[in-house]
């Protein structure tokens, strides 16, 4: 081995961190939504087998539910693409922010994807049992899915803040504290959205099944579902606040 000098500059560290973050983001981001959509398709097939006459209603609901459940993976894709193609200027804060952004969105899409999948799975089962209630069931499914995805939206916001933090120069200093704060924000928001996403999905699943069994209770179910989901999302709000404090003030 010759004594060749290889210089690993700060810019290459930043690019390495960003690429690693993009991989983590895309990899983790595929988990929740794919499981949710798969469960939806399974429920759709079972419902069609039980009720072939309602097959087109079930197919339509299944596709709609899957498309909405995929949102959290799409957010992860967006963050990965930004991380791969962004022009970095090379600083420690940017490196930590880039990797943390990928980690945030990757972890942050697991729970909401699973939860949204639960809602659409229940919608397929419900329409299979009671095709006449299809419209009310679909309404509750859409609203429940949209609320179950809020933690993914929060994770998206934190990811974007982490990526673009270095530009404004308010990332604190080039010290270990700022880098650790970025990673801490990622863990806070990422892990903090697993539970709320899944929990909101459970609420939506029960509301959708209830609306299928008893279409007259549609309004009461919608109101209770939104309330229950909002309260269960409160822990995601706490994670969001902690993450924002870490990103902005540390």
């Amino acid at each position: 081995m010759t004594g060749a000098e290889h210089s690993i500059t700060l810019l290459s560290w930043t690019q390495a961190a960003a690429l690693l973050g993009a991989g983590v983001c895309a990899g983790l981001g595929a988990i929740g939504a794919a499981l949710g959509e798969g469960n939806t398709a399974r429920a759709g097939a079972e419902a069609m087998a039980r009720q072939p006459g309602a097959a087109d209603k079930i197919l339509y609901t299944m596709l709609l539910g899957q498309a909405v459940a995929e949102s959290s993976s799409i957010f992860a894709l967006v963050i990965s693409v930004i991380l791969v193609f962004n022009d970095w200027t090379g600083s420690a804060v940017e490196a930590a922010g880039a990797f943390s952004a990928g980690l945030t969105m990757g972890l942050g899409s697991i729970g909401p994807g699973l939860g949204s999948g639960l809602a659409s799975e229940a919608a397929c089962t419900g329409i299979g049992r009671n095709p006449n209630a299809a419209h009310g069931v679909r309404n509750i499914m859409l609203v429940g899915q949209a609320v179950a995805q809020s933690p993914a939206v929060f994770a998206l916001m934190i990811s974007l803040m982490l990526i673009y933090n270095g530009i404004n120069g308010n990332g604190g200093g080039e010290n270990l504290g700022s880098m650790a704060a970025a990673l801490g924000a990622a863990l806070s928001m990422g892990l903090g959205s697993i539970g709320p996403g899944f929990g909101a999905g459970e609420v939506a699943k029960a509301a959708v099944l209830g609306a299928a069994k008893n279409p007259k209770a549609h309004d009461a179910l919608m109101g209770t579902m939104i309330t229950g989901q909002a309260v269960s999302q409160s822990t995601a709000i706490y994670s969001l606040m902690v993450a924002m404090v870490l990103v902005l003030l540390a």
Partner: protein
């Protein structure tokens, strides 16, 4: 590949403020508007009781959305149904435009999708204030418990963000995937089929999801 994110920008200075416009997005939006006007004129030129092809397609579209809108909004449907259908068909044609060579989707720009989401947001809140009166509307933010106020406000904003980013991510992500795969297979066989998948299939579904969610948010705001 970084040219996906860069874009020519027109800058105007108006009274001390600098306005920056993404040129490509604006021009493509005009193309979409022109296409929609042309299609509308074509469909309504000679209205007949037994419709021709274009008029028939238009009637199917309108009837379908009218049913959805009536079921969700009931008596208020005539006021908001045109907005929902216009949103759907605008997003649909925008997403399909990407499959035409030398044209790109205006929904590839976050500005477009954010603007559309904000239109739906304003429509929903306007509908709520009109239906319930401003006192009941403000009070609804404090239900069911007073400490839920920040949660409700954050929830409203996250609706706008999720709606806009969902459409933007699907369209931009599809474009990136087609570009990356095309380069990997050296533009052999695969790109047109991928482009058709993302343009037709994903584009149609996302247009429908966008319109349906806007309708759902309006009907939610009017109900409570």
């Amino acid at each position: 590949m970084t040219q996906l994110f860069a874009s020519t920008q027109w800058r105007f200075t108006v009274g001390g403020w600098e306005l920056v416009v993404n040129a490509e997005t604006l021009i493509m939006t005009w193309v979409v508007v022109g296409l929609l006007l042309a299609l509308s004129l074509l469909a309504t030129r000679k209205l007949e009781l037994v419709p021709g092809t274009v008029q028939n397609a238009a009637e199917i579209l309108i009837e379908g959305f009218l049913n959805l809108s009536n079921a969700s909004l009931g008596a208020r449907s005539p006021g908001y149904f045109p907005l929902i259908l216009a949103t759907f068909i605008f997003v649909l044609i925008s997403n399909w435009l990407g499959m035409v060579p030398f044209l790109s989707e205006p929904t590839r720009d976050l500005n477009t999708t954010l603007g559309l989401a904000l239109v739906g947001f304003v429509a929903a809140h306007y509908a709520a204030i009109r239906a319930k009166g401003i006192k009941a509307y403000l009070k609804s933010y404090f239900e069911p418990f007073a400490f839920m106020f920040p949660l409700n406000v954050v929830g409203e904003f996250s609706k706008v963000i999720s709606l806009s980013f969902r459409l933007y991510g699907n369209v931009m992500g599809g474009a990136v995937i087609v570009l990356v795969v095309s380069q990997l297979v050296h533009y052999w066989v695969l790109p047109p089929f991928l482009s058709a998948f993302f343009g037709f299939f994903v584009g149609t579904i996302q247009a429908f999801v966008f319109a349906m969610l806007t309708l759902t948010y309006i009907s939610l705001a009017v109900q409570k």
